[in-house]
């Protein structure tokens, strides 16, 4: 019984760690994307556009 409880702790910590790090990676990628879009939009709002004249994104 004690072995089952100990196993459960290792399994729980493994899955918690994976969920936390994976969600962290997703959040990092999502915030980076949002920041890049916002920066480009801010530049275009100042009238700075690509020489081709097309949309920047």
């Amino acid at each position: 019984m004690e072995t089952h409880a100990q196993d459960a702790i290792f399994i729980a910590w493994a899955y918690i760690g994976v969920i936390v790090v994976t969600l962290g990676l997703i959040a990092r990628v999502a915030t980076g994307a949002r920041a890049a879009r916002a920066r480009l939009a801010a530049l275009e709002a100042q009238g700075i556009r690509r020489r081709s004249g097309g949309p920047a994104a």
């Binding site: 910590w13 994976v18 920066r39 530049l43 920047a56 994104a57």
Partner: protein
């Protein structure tokens, strides 16, 4: 004959990988891919916890395998992607190659950290120790440090073109670690078990364990692909913003 007619036409891969075309085709892919990843994770976790048996030797701790093996696979697969992208930078000077290599590095570091973490938590109840300085674990730790070094190099060099070439060389040298990780369990005495999926005689694992493992492998691999696409798009937007900033400073 005009010069345009004489010029070789770009093949489908070149057209697909042009930064402008990439931004066009990658956008509609993201949502369906995200939904597929979510579905596969839900299915894989259901199998892992409710529809797969305990191992006769390892008991329930075998369930750690469903998150350890996909991350261990990705730690090497992502590096393989970076090595191919590095060749693309050095040999073909492909405009998206260094974007892909730069976007993949933090993801590879994350997956490698998870492989080490889950392996350590699996090792304690199975082998009686969290860590052993054997070939497989040590070479995977070295891979993690290589990822960190590559991320640091990207950040340390402002000129992205120069950084891309230096990082590409470092990445290709670091690729020597991948076969060491792969064959370490055959070359040296180790606590780590030898390969039990990709063997000449087929997987040495019952289907009841192999099914959730396969689903989780596909889910994690598609998650990497999704995060890579978004990160590459972000890197292209960043470079466009940098270019616009320089253009603004130049015209001021």
């Amino acid at each position: 004959m005009s010069l345009d007619a004489a010029a070789p036409k770009p093949n489908w891969l070149s057209r697909l990988a042009h930064p402008g075309a990439f931004m066009g085709w990658s956008r509609p892919v993201l949502l369906p891919l995200g939904l597929l990843v979510g579905l596969l994770f839900a299915l894989g976790l259901w199998f892992a916890f409710f529809n797969s048996p305990a191992d006769y030797q390892m008991g329930d701790t075998v369930r750690i395998m469903y998150v350890h093996v996909p991350n261990a696979w990705l730690s090497q697969f992502v590096y393989g992607v970076m090595a191919v992208a590095s060749l693309g930078t050095l040999v073909w000077r492909h405009p998206l190659a260094d974007v892909a290599a730069k976007a993949a590095a933090p993801l590879g570091a994350g997956f490698t950290a998870l492989a080490l973490y889950t392996g350590s938590l699996w090792g304690r109840p199975t082998w009686g120790t969290f860590w052993e300085w054997d070939g497989r674990m040590t070479s995977t730790l070295v891979l993690f440090f290589i990822y960190l070094g590559i991320i640091a190099l990207w950040r340390a060099i402002d000129d992205q073109l120069r950084a891309a070439r230096i990082v590409a060389v470092v990445t290709l040298v670091g690729a020597l670690d991948i076969p060491i990780i792969k064959f370490s369990v055959d070359w040296w005495n180790t606590l780590h078990q030898p390969s039990s999926i990709l063997t000449p005689s087929g997987p040495r694992m019952p289907g009841s364990l192999l099914t959730p493992l396969f689903i989780m492998l596909v889910a994690f691999t598609l998650l990497f692909l999704l995060l890579l696409l978004v990160s590459m798009r972000t890197e292209i937007l960043r470079r466009r913003a940098d270019s616009l900033s320089r253009q603004a400073v130049g015209s001021a």
